[in-house]
């Protein structure tokens, strides 16, 4: 492994930029994601930063059961994220639709039909620790030796 690659690995492991997008949830999971920022869980000490800008994000947290208003937009948003990137489904809604997936509802879960999902965190809502450990365990799989794996 080249020196440049090891420097990249080191830097990337402490600088995970996260964007979150709510594609139609009840806001319960949004609250849990924001609770990760609070002093009790404090994701910034792990080098995870929340920006709501997909162009500077590494990881996209998808929350919600995919309502029709997101049909074009979510894929555009996913395209905007520069490589290497990964998407995590937070909560039951992007996985199964949870309580909203009933007859005559407009939601279209799972979100993995629309964008590639790398990890799923079940729960309604998941605990902040579960979100945090999902991000921390996914990040080395995606970002470590990314250039080597691409070649």
């Amino acid at each position: 492994m080249s020196l440049l690659q090891s420097v990249k690995n080191l830097v990337r492991s402490h600088s995970i930029h996260v964007a979150y997008v709510d594609v139609g949830s009840c806001n319960g999971c949004d609250i849990e994601v924001l609770a990760c920022l609070s002093p009790r869980y404090d994701i910034e000490q792990y080098g995870i930063y929340v920006h709501n800008n997909p162009r500077e994000a590494d990881i996209l947290l998808v929350i919600g059961a995919y309502t029709p208003g997101w049909e074009e937009k979510l894929h555009t948003l996913w395209e905007k994220i520069p490589d290497p990137k990964a998407a995590i489904a937070i909560g039951n809604c992007p996985i199964s639709g949870c309580l909203f997936n009933r007859p005559h509802s407009l939601v279209d879960p799972p979100v993995s039909k629309h964008i590639p999902i790398a990890a799923e965190v079940p729960g309604c809502p998941p605990r902040p620790t579960e979100i945090l450990s999902a991000v921390l365990s996914l990040a080395p799989l995606v970002f470590k030796d990314y250039e080597v794996a691409k070649r």
């Binding site: 869980y41 000490q45 792990y46 039951n92 996985i95 949870c98 079940p122 605990r127 620790t129 450990s133």
Partner: protein, 203 residues
């Protein structure tokens, strides 16, 4: 008088503070024991009463599956909302989650079920799908034919005069099979859950 820079720095940049700043102290990533997680099996025997499935508010979250050892409830992550109602509903204590079983024991509470079937006579067209699909009817009259025609009147659902009629609503087990088989959404089953307080001598 020269500025006492060194004592000043010692006062501000304390070693303890520097250590805390550069070497993070990890937040507790453990789940506390009282947290209501996904229900887990206690090892007690499941009697296939299916109250867990009746109480579950999330679609597709729990199934009772027949294994080689017997019946076993299985929780589907991604569907389960961790409400703990299946734990409370189970008459045998097969499932456990957090402190639910302990608090039920100390508070002397349990869930009581009743089911209510409503047939919208304006929508019902008397096709008899509900009566044929109903598993309670199937036990009473296994010969029940197309259109809900049966030889007996001791049924839960029966079609007479072109409409579905609920004859013995107390037989209903709340499975909602009729609701799923109705082409017109004319039949609705509501599951009524009540937390009731039981006297100590009944336990």
């Amino acid at each position: 008088m020269p500025l006492p820079i060194f004592p000043y720095l010692c006062e501000i940049v304390r070693l303890e503070w520097v250590r805390k700043f550069f070497f993070v102290k990890t937040a507790p990533l453990v789940t506390p024991s009282h947290s209501r997680g996904f229900p887990e099996l206690t090892g007690k025997t499941c009697t296939h009463a299916l109250f867990c499935m009746m109480a579950c508010p999330a679609p597709g979250a729990i199934d009772v599956i027949k294994t080689t050892e017997g019946w076993e409830p299985r929780i589907h992550k991604g569907h389960c909302i961790r409400c703990g109602l299946c734990v409370e509903a189970c008459p045998n204590g097969v499932l456990t989650s957090g402190r639910i079983l302990e608090s039920m024991f100390y508070d002397h509470t349990r869930l009581s079920f009743s089911f209510r079937i409503d047939v919208d006579t304006n929508l019902c067209m008397g096709c008899g799908n509900c009566a044929v699909a109903c598993p309670v009817n199937k036990v009473i009259d296994a010969q029940m034919a197309y259109g809900g025609r049966a030889s007996t009147d001791q049924l839960l659902l029966k079609v007479s005069e072109g409409k579905c009629h609920v004859l013995y609503p107390e037989l209903c087990t709340g499975c909602k099979t009729c609701e799923n088989h109705c082409p017109n959404e004319a039949i609705r089953v509501s599951r009524l859950l009540e937390a009731v307080h039981i006297e100590e001598e009944e336990i």
